[in-house]
Structure formats: C-alpha cells, structure tokens
Symmetry: C2
Subunit: 131 residues, 2 copies
C-alpha cells in the first residue's frame, strides 16, 4: 500500500507546479491549500531536494521550485524517493535479508512480476498527467 508520505509528496509537487509562475512557492502556502500539516510536510520534502527534484530557497521570498518541466517527472521516481518502501512483499524490499526458503519458494517469481507491473505503471505516468 502507498503511505501518506508518497501521496502527499505527489500533491505537493502538483501544487508547486501549479503555483510557481516565476517565483518560489512557500511550503506554508502549499500546506494551507492542500489542508496538510506544514510540520509533517517538512519531513517528507528533504529527499526531493537532496535528489535535485526541487530547489529550496531560504529566507523571505523563498520557498520551493521545480527543476524540470512537469512532463519530465516520472511519478515512479517521486514515489521511490519519498516512499519508504514500494515493494509488494518484504523479501523484495531494499535491505531485506536473503530469504532462506528462496530455493524452494514457488511464489517469488509471481511477486517479482507484480513488482514489475507496478513500477511499469508508475513510470508510465508523469507529473503533467496530474495537472
């Protein structure tokens, strides 16, 4: 399942895209428009700035701004950064220990297929599709 982190991140990105005419968009405004907690958003955003998806400028008149055109953001990329884990099952998760039943496991291939299906869909859509 997708948590609020990823869902809110998408809404934030779409909101910035819609409001960044030529200046910077304060997260305070985004929070108010979207009806979300500013403090909570503040701890969801960092992975996006650290990976160059958006730029943040401090001080008066500051805020956030996209670094690319909406069309050039794959939703999968946004979610993979903000969501703690996207894999459908634990054994396909990032830091998962190698499952000892792996050799005899009859379902792993099926789960890998599901994982691929999900990621293919996420990568087939862009931020522009949300606007």
């Amino acid at each position: 399942m997708i948590s609020t982190r990823g869902r809110y991140a998408l809404r934030v990105m779409a909101d910035i895209a819609s409001n960044q005419e030529d200046g910077y968009v304060p997260m305070k405004d985004v929070a108010k428009r979207q009806g979300l907690s500013l403090k909570y958003l503040e701890q969801i955003i960092p992975p996006l700035t650290k990976n160059g998806m958006i730029v943040g400028v401090q001080g008066k008149g500051g805020g956030y701004r996209l670094t690319k055109k909406p069309k050039d953001y794959r939703i999968g990329d946004i979610l993979r950064l903000t969501e703690k884990e996207l894999a459908p099952v634990g054994c396909l998760a990032k830091g998962a220990p190698v499952c000892e039943r792996r050799p005899q496991c009859k379902t792993i291939g099926f789960w890998e297929g599901l994982n691929d299906a999900v990621n293919d869909y996420l990568d087939s859509k862009t931020l522009e599709d949300l606007l």
Copy 2:
C-alpha cells in the same frame, strides 16, 4: 503492501494442490512443510472455505481439498478473499468514507489506474502458475 495473510494463503493453496493426491491434506502437515504456525494459518483459511475455494473435513483422516483445478483459481480471487485490503490507497478501500477533497483531487485518477494495473496482473495468473 501484501501482508502475510495473502502470501501464506497462496503457499497453502499451492501446498494443498501438490499434496492432495486423492485424500485430504491436514493443515498440520501444510504448516510443517511450509514452516508456518498452524494456529496462525487456521485463522487465515476460513474465508477460503466459506467461499468454496476449498473444502474442509473434520475428524481423523480429514483435512482440506481443492474444489477446482489449479488452472481455475485466479490468484487475484485468492488474495481478494484473504487479504484485508488490496487497494493501493485508503480512499479506494472497501469501507472507505467518501473523501471530501474528491472533487478537487488531482491524483485519484492516477490511483485508480494503479489499482486496475495491479488487479489485472493478479487476475492474469492462476494457481497453476505457482506449481
């Protein structure tokens, strides 16, 4: 995303399919072969019997048995019965209250698409594919 309930259910179904020559397969044996807790499996199984996916016979010599050929079980059907919730986001869940932001929500269409993509994949595979 997918919990142990659905994952174990698949392993149980595959195990029964592989061991039900012409008699009934005791859950005790399944638990031992799969390395899972019998008591936990016992509370995962009921939805499968109540919906006619398998039949359970009590008493000595009893156990479980498939009601159809492995090829006729869509994995999606098994998971929708055993998994508490398959929807990728809360607002698409079974008993979810209507979201008040629905009219202005720009992401709901995207999530519905993901939900469809997942279910399409799950319904494209059968129990036979796991054997």
